[in-house]
Subunit: 292 residues, 2 copies
């Protein structure tokens, strides 16, 4: 089956899916995006993802190109046309096509692109053994709360991590405090069993999985602190993990050369990982029941 | 006459010029660019622009897709096909097309896009009256020396400037020191007639016009200091101006609400502006003589 992409109102074969060279996404990184997990054919946490998309657009004063309901329908259609059961849906919106000039175009027309594809299940050993994180200076701009396509520093950090044999880069601000991963949020469990993750600010993207895990942790009665933590605190932590739409909850068992605790995924991490998988399952069952 | 763009080896009508939606320039701002002035059919400071393009590519480890000689020929062809006498040529290179994933693709293939267009001469009153600059916090990433398409903060700054009735935004670092404009370099002339512009570092783009003006100033025997200057120093300066490929040398006669000196373009600024226009004229004559 050939893949289909949505480009500005048309469903086109993926290979031919193109945007104009003067799309401001291409020339200025003047656009935003969302990636949602698709799980048993359902879009996980669709509401919060669309809330965040609308917030990103508002912050950049890019117009929402269609109603939220229409957007949701198109997302479903793209998933359906690609027969995606478990995978992702990617939505990108940019400020329009206009002769190249920095200021906003006089008559901006938001461009919309969507793709959906299956993704292979995460290797089981990621959950069983955990992954490694590499710390790197956070050199990004000061509005990381906006989910823009201005991702070059994230790309460079992720590549550096992979070349160092790490799964993710943990970015560190000028005060030695971890902001977040290059495409994930960063968490630790302190020796006295407190769950810690940086509070939402302009310095990090407020992950949808981060928000879901906060809710799950509260439901479990866990002690939670939203505050920055240092690289030293992380290296001395009892547990560490990352969260994201595609990584879910993933144990981190090594930071740079430092093995975390006994080098095995922590019990709290594994509990939250299990709860998050259940959270995804619950949503798909609830949605199936609704449409039944 | 219809405009023609160059896209990955093909000359195509501008309206149909497109890149794939998974071009990393579009999804990750994973690319670089150059804009050169075209003056009487000649590319101004082509050598330094291509040097900088190669440097940007090297810093990001994006492969140069063709020989420099071939690149230069294609640039000329694009200018020729668009019958551009006075205007610009825009060259963008990205890390390739690949399924969306942060790390570098396994087999990256640099994508190349070029456009060329005429531009109207700068309004004479810009040179006669000068323009206004608005100071704004510099919230960009820490590798502004790389001429990447990761330009969203520059777009936002330029838009804010225009909405405030200013021509350019001057970006200010955490220490209150001016880094550069959103698409220009910033200069002042001190009360004791010293020319000051920030030294090249990761904090600014080392402008080709900046480099040319430094050379011209040296040729004129002017005192030049490459160092940061504060907003306060700029507001109290004798003269202020900006340089860029498309602005050339442009007097700044107001910064925020502060009129600079007597509110007229300064004599040193006007001298450098005139010398820079002569520098462009010299190049076109030299090239014409060579090809005669």
């Amino acid at each position: 089956m050939s893949r289909i992409a949505y480009v500005n109102g048309r469903y086109v074969p993926h290979k031919q899916a193109a945007v104009h060279i003067e799309d401001r996404g291409y020339q200025f990184a003047d656009g935003v995006y969302e990636v949602c997990a698709v799980w048993n054919g359902h879009i996980i946490d669709e509401g919060p993802h669309l809330d965040r998309l609308e917030r990103s657009l508002r912050e950049l004063r890019i117009g929402m190109p269609m109603s939220r309901q229409a957007l949701s329908l198109v997302m479903r259609e793209v998933i359906h046309r690609n027969a995606v059961d478990t995978g992702i849906i990617y939505v990108q919106m940019t400020r329009g096509v206009a002769p190249r000039d920095h200021p906003f175009p006089a008559i901006p027309e938001t461009q919309v692109v969507m793709t959906s594809r299956r993704i292979r299940p995460q290797p089981a050993k990621f959950g069983e053994d955990g992954v490694k994180a590499l710390t790197l200076p956070d050199i990004r701009w000061e509005r990381c709360d906006i989910k823009s396509v201005s991702l070059l520093p994230n790309v460079l950090a992720k590549q550096a991590a992979r070349e160092a044999g790490a799964y993710e880069a943990w970015l560190v601000d000028d005060d030695g405090l971890v902001t977040e991963g290059s495409s994930t949020n960063a968490w630790i469990v302190t020796r006295d069993a407190k769950l810690v993750t940086r509070s939402a600010s302009h310095a990090i993207l407020n992950g949808i999985t981060r928000l879901a895990v906060i809710e799950l942790a509260r439901g479990e009665g866990l002690q939670l602190e939203e505050r920055p933590f240092s690289v030293a605190e992380a290296k001395g932590a009892r547990e560490a993990f990352i969260t994201s739409t595609t990584s879910f909850v993933l144990p981190v068992t090594q930071i740079d050369d430092q093995v975390i605790a006994n080098g095995k995924p922590g019990s709290l991490t594994l509990k939250l990982r299990q709860r998050y998988m259940a959270h995804m399952g619950d949503q798909t069952r609830a949605e199936a029941a609704e449409s039944a």
